[in-house]
């Protein structure tokens, strides 16, 4: 069964905090949930489906449904890292289409900045049962050098340059200057990125996303309920998900699972990349964006570096505006998980509620895409295509 037209995103809320030393993780989840419900014009009692990812404290939905005192008949906590929430919209739409719930709440929240987890996502040293554990963690693999090895290989095969990577950051910073909540609001140049220190070759400090507390939530519901609410209609047109890994040693670091999730989403939506007016792309690192652009078909494999150069991702300047909230590179990356904020900014664009300086004219079709986990070893990709009706 296709989900095209079966569900709408009617509520979206991004927590304004970037540092929350005095709040618990569960409290942040509840605050974003209530924010999204208020945005939709719904109440907590309307929620009968709940979705969360690996950031949820305790036993996922069991702990948070109890904390928020929800009464749900459907729950799902599929965890594909930071892109989980984009996948959750797909799963919520499927559940709604199957009659398993009517109003689905999806939340993300965390406070790694307050908890001083400055080194990025946990390196999973707490799970020695994981079969790959002795073959990866023992060599000092971190998020940083795992993504860096993808960038190094991409540069080797396709001639992608550090200056091209820098253009992704430059575009994000041009957008972030208009976002009062963004952590980094200074517009940077290619030279600024080039002059920032190398952290793990070939990635520099400004190729990396920020570390922030916060979170976000979205509400997905069936068409009849969506039409009864007084909010602009954002229809789910298509979605795709895929998992990529090291394939038993048959390694190719130049592409992501987006090469499979993207075509699934476009086929379901009955659309092609040139139809899309705005993209939210997971920008854990600048290279992540370049690989995703290629895999989703916005340019050919290997041409992502040239595609992003000269401001092509800047709203009002380039032909494919991206991450107009400043993205993970400049705005926020709550709990090291950027998927939720990618949906929220796409919803803002489709509603015409983005900052006027970055609002894309006639933005009727948008795509949100994430790569969760580790790009260089195993990760899940989720693609979501939405339409303003």
């Amino acid at each position: 069964m296709s989900i095209n037209g079966m569900a709408y995103i009617v509520g979206a809320y991004e927590h304004p905090t970037r540092k929350a030393p005095d709040k618990s993780v569960a409290q942040l989840h509840a605050e974003v949930a209530l924010g999204a419900l208020a945005d939709a014009g719904l109440s907590k009692d309307d929620v009968d489906g709940y979705f969360c990812g690996g950031d949820a404290p305790g036993t996922g939905p069991l702990s948070l449904v109890e904390y928020m005192n929800l009464k749900v008949r459907h729950a799902d906590s599929t965890n594909i890292g930071g892109s989980s929430y984009i996948l959750h919209v797909n799963h919520a739409a499927q559940a709604i289409a199957a009659g398993k719930c009517d109003v689905a709440l999806i939340t993300l929240a965390g406070r790694p900045r307050s908890e001083s987890l400055q080194k990025g996502p946990p390196q999973r040293t707490d799970n020695p049962v994981q079969p790959d554990f002795p073959w990866e963690q023992a060599f000092g693999m971190t998020t940083l050098n795992a993504y860096a090895m993808c960038a190094m290989r991409h540069m080797h095969e396709f001639g992608t340059t550090s200056d091209q990577l820098a253009w992704v950051k430059v575009a994000a910073s041009h957008h972030a200057q208009h976002n009062p909540n963004a952590m980094l609001r200074d517009v940077v140049t290619v030279e600024d990125v080039a002059n920032s220190p190398v952290v793990a070759d070939p990635l520099r400090r400004l190729d990396c996303c920020v570390i922030s507390d916060g979170g976000g939530a979205v509400i997905v519901t069936r068409p009849e309920i969506a039409r009864s609410l007084k909010r602009p209609l954002v229809k789910v047109r298509g979605a795709g998900e895929a998992i990529k890994h090291l394939s038993g040693g048959d390694v190719d670091l130049t592409y992501s699972a987006g090469a499979r999730s993207g075509p699934l989403a476009f086929t379901e939506a009955g659309l092609k990349p040139t139809d899309i007016k705005y993209v939210s792309l997971y920008d854990s690192f600048t290279m992540t964006v370049i690989i995703q652009l290629e895999d989703l078909g916005f340019c050919r494999k290997g041409e992502g570096g040239r595609f992003v150069a000269d401001g092509n991702l800047i709203s009002g300047v380039g032909r494919l505006p991206f991450n107009t909230d400043g993205g993970g590179l400049c705005n926020n990356h709550p709990n090291h998980r950027g998927g939720m904020t990618k949906i929220i900014e796409a919803v803002r664009q489709l509603r015409g509620e983005a900052h006027p300086a970055v609002q894309v004219a006639n933005c009727d079709l948008a795509l949100a895409h994430g790569t969760g986990g580790l790009l260089g070893t195993r990760h899940g990709s989720a693609t979501l295509i939405m339409e303003r009706e």
């Binding site: 073959w135 963690q137 023992a138 038993g248 070893t377």
Partner: protein, 127 residues
């Protein structure tokens, strides 16, 4: 306790690899069913699902597929993917080498490195 020692007792299927490495022998797993080598070693072939996999002695030679120098670490270290002569590509470290001389495509050879008194890891050095 090292990262390695905290994990090995969970993985009896790969104990022969670590035991051999302690004797300075570098093994890999290949499948008698489809003939292909894989990495990391598994009891069941990830390509054809055959349980008829066997340990073989690796040549210890390979080439660098990708790498990164972790500059923020003190001291900096090199992580890499090395494609073994036998076929599979594995994550490892490049050691005993000039970090600035590391490059994709360069030949390497195994350099079994003791990490604790009773643990070793399969690392590589520029050939």
């Amino acid at each position: 306790m090292s990262v390695l020692s905290s994990s090995l007792h969970h993985h009896p299927e790969t104990q022969p690899f670590w035991s051999a490495l302690g004797e300075r022998r570098f093994l890999f797993k290949a499948c008698r069913g489809c003939g292909r080598a894989h990495w990391y070693p598994r009891a069941i072939c990830p390509f054809c699902d055959s349980p008829d996999t066997e340990w073989r002695n690796a040549s210890g030679r390979g080439v660098i597929y990708s790498y990164s120098i972790m500059r923020v670490a003190k001291p900096p270290y090199a992580i890499a993917y090395v494609t073994l002569e036998e076929g599979p590509t594995m994550m490892t470290n490049i050691v005993d080498s000039d970090l600035e001389a590391i490059a994709i495509g360069k030949p390497v050879e195994v350099a079994i490195r003791k990490t604790t008194d009773d643990e070793s890891l399969p690392m590589f050095k520029l050939a």
